[in-house]
């Protein structure tokens, strides 16, 4: 039995090695084609993902990771409950927009404004997600399609609002006014990383505890595994759907608020859409097969790839086109490795249970 397990570990390690060799091979080929130095590029990649003076690049990675992981956690809650909600982008935009507008117009002490704006953002995100849920439950629009389609109106509504009624006229950009400086999230001392990541960490912790240890999370998962089963044993499927979507949307809204108060300090048209936070969140979740504790790590992984690639692009010798191709190649090989390995390990666990 032990040798069996050991050989399984060995097999796993070897297959990872092969995947890494593939990635390295393809990248080497690409770089050779443009005559870029491979070793230099690799070290630039790592340096720019994790290094820098006073670890400033690591901070950039973490700052990006916060938003990606936040979206990943939001998506995970939906996916685990069997709700194919790919409207995270719309919920994120709703949250960011409302956070910025609320902070601009709410009176009161800064801490109150900040708290109320974050809350408003979460409500907005939840509301936008609920809209997709209601479309499914009452108007027969499948969630997958409905949530996807709802991404567009909110994006353009937000764009219109900050382009016309709420535009910061002085700036010449499509953006709202700056939110009051007193509401900005402070940086960790000595760094340029805002404390927004703590909010995301809290949300992740909540999601992990929720998924593993709460009754609601358990019921949602049963619904995710088999909706027919959930209905038959009398779980409140409709209510579960709406509640889970609301939770998922609220976290997306929170991410929007963190982007506003921590990073940009206002709503800028496209700031939440163009970096593809929501889509990256989705692939981060799928990459690790929706295992809750692994989701934030997966978000960090993608953030590191992106900042690393951006850094590599900055360093001389590696054109930006290659950086994109590299990202794709890494995702392709890692995705097929990880999803395969996870399926295998869950089977093994099941088999082990029988033997016990």
């Amino acid at each position: 039995m032990r040798t069996l397990r050991e050989s399984a570990v060995l097999r796993e390690a070897v297959s990872w090695g092969v995947a890494l060799a593939w990635i390295a091979g393809v990248l080497f080929l690409l770089m050779a084609l443009v005559g870029a130095p491979f070793g230099e590029a690799l070290s630039a990649f790592l340096q720019n993902a994790f290094g820098g003076r006073r670890l400033s690049y690591l901070m950039a990675t973490l700052s990006r990771a916060a938003l990606i992981a936040g979206m990943a956690v939001s998506v995970m809650l939906s996916f685990r409950a069997g709700l194919f909600n790919i409207g995270g982008e719309g919920q994120l935009v709703a949250g960011g927009l409302v956070a910025a507008l609320a902070a601009l117009f709410l009176p009161g002490p800064p801490l109150f404004v900040l708290g109320a704006s974050i809350l408003a953002a979460m409500v907005a995100g939840a509301g936008w997600a609920l809209l997709a849920g209601l479309l499914q439950l009452h108007l027969g629009v499948p969630l997958l399609v409905g949530s996807l389609l709802l991404n567009y109106p909110i994006r353009y509504i937000a764009s219109y609002l900050v382009a016309h009624p709420f535009r910061d006229v002085q700036s010449g950009m499509v953006q709202s006014h700056l939110v009051p400086q007193a509401t900005w999230l402070p940086y960790f001392p000595g760094t340029r990383l805002d404390i927004g990541i703590l909010f995301i960490a809290a949300a992740s912790l909540f999601a992990i505890i929720y998924s593993h240890f709460t009754l609601h999370g358990y019921h949602a998962r049963m619904n995710g595994l088999s909706p027919a089963f959930a209905r038959t044993v009398g779980l409140p499927v409709g209510k579960l759907t709406l509640q889970t979507l609301a939770m998922s949307g609220a976290i997306a809204g929170l991410v929007g608020a963190v982007a506003v108060f921590g990073v940009h300090h206002r709503y800028i048209d496209g700031m939440l859409v163009q970096p593809l936070y929501a889509w990256t969140g989705i692939i981060a979740v799928l990459l690790v097969g929706m295992i809750p504790w692994a989701v934030p790590l997966s978000g960090l992984f993608f953030a590191a790839i992106q900042t690393g690639a951006a850094g590599m692009e900055r360093s001389a010798g590696v054109p930006k086109e290659i950086a994109l191709v590299m990202q794709a190649v890494i995702i392709l090989f890692v995705a097929s490795r990880v999803s395969g390995a996870l399926v295998a390990s869950s089977e093994r666990r099941a088999g082990g249970g029988e033997g016990a």
């Binding site: 084609l33 443009v34 479309l135 108007l139 027969g140 629009v141 499948p142 997958l144 399609v145 409905g146 996807l148 389609l149 709802l150 567009y152 109106p153 353009y156 509504i157 764009s159 219109y160 382009a163 016309h164 889509w279 989705i282 692939i283 799928l286 990459l287 054109p319 930006k320 086109e321 290659i322 950086a323 994109l324 191709v325 590299m326 990202q327 794709a328 190649v329 995702i331 392709l332 090989f333 995705a335 097929s336 490795r337 999803s339 395969g340 399926v343």
Partner: protein, 305 residues
């Protein structure tokens, strides 16, 4: 006001919007029916657009350009198959990676082949001219819509009944449907669903390639980075909405195309661009809701299933 909306160029412009979406969506339909969740149509389309320009530039013939576009699309289909079918990667992750790959590879190759950054336009790129259909000219609306379009539009129109026939009567079409519905049935019959899906992906690549060719050597004669500009995603939406059925797909593609084309004209009336940009999506949502109401109404009246 109405004449502003329905100016003479309006009807003629609709097919230019419809063609790439329809071709890509028919490709997506092959995957959908075969049980492959392919949301990389954007990447397939982009690669097709690029390959079309390459083929047309070097051969001087738009038809060879279209052939190159199909090959480009098929290549992307093979990449998808390798990582999803053979290595078992999640289809969504693979799709998104392929979209990124297409964006990177096309700009990289643009630089490598043409030494151009971001865009490439050259008189040597031979484009598809309009095909005139005799006897259509005098028709008030149909004349401009169906006359004088690029050959790829007619190809796309013909592809709809062909696809319908293919799913209904062709041996591969039957197997594709089985692969999507109950692959175990194929296994029991000694046919590998994986192989069937591979063919579906290749067909999807070819069709998306043609859609890309419409963008780069029919609508215009040039390549710009990311020139698919979200049209592949619209095709994905269309496929999801219709569950890959060719005739409804034609309808949705026309709705999208018409509303998109209309949205340009509405701008001329002073509607903010953000709202005109929203129109195709809201129109789709409206169609969707209406359809499901209609369906529900029918079943509630005790109709046959």
């Amino acid at each position: 006001m109405l004449e502003l909306l329905f100016d003479p160029s309006f009807a003629a412009s609709v097919p230019r919007f419809v063609t790439p979406i329809l071709l890509a969506a028919l490709g997506g339909a092959l995957c959908e029916r075969a049980g492959v969740f392919n949301i990389a149509l954007e990447g397939f389309l982009l690669m097709g657009a690029f390959a079309a320009v390459v083929g047309s530039y070097f051969s001087g013939s738009p038809w060879l350009g279209a052939l190159a576009a199909m090959l480009g699309g098929v290549a992307m289909g093979l990449v998808f198959a390798e990582f999803n079918l053979r290595r078992g990667g999640d289809p969504i992750v693979v799709s998104i990676a392929i979209n990124i790959l297409a964006a990177g590879l096309t700009t990289y190759l643009l630089r490598a082949i043409f030494d151009a950054m971001g865009a490439f336009s050259d008189p040597a790129i031979a484009g598809f001219g309009p095909v005139s259909i005799p006897g259509l000219g005098w028709l008030p609306v149909l004349g401009p819509v169906f006359g004088g379009q690029s050959p790829l539009f007619y190809l796309a129109l013909v592809a709809v009944p062909v696809a319908s026939l293919f799913f209904a009567r062709h041996r591969l079409g039957l197997r594709i449907r089985a692969a999507g519905e109950n692959p175990a049935g194929l296994v029991a019959g000694g046919v590998s669903p994986r192989r069937v899906r591979l063919y579906a992906l290749m067909g999807c690549g070819a069709l998306c390639g043609l859609g890309g060719a419409q963008l780069s050597i029919a609508n215009v004669n040039l390549f710009v980075e990311n020139m698919s500009a979200g049209r592949g995603w619209i095709a994905v939406v269309a496929v999801l909405l219709t569950r890959g059925r060719p005739w409804p797909l034609l309808l949705i593609a026309f709705i999208f195309g018409t509303v998109d084309s209309l949205s340009f004209r509405v701008q001329g009336l002073g509607m903010p661009q953000q709202f005109t940009d929203m129109m195709p999506y809201l129109a789709t949502l409206a169609v969707l809701i209406t359809l499901s109401w209609w369906r529900r109404g029918r079943t509630a009246n005790g109709g046959a299933p």
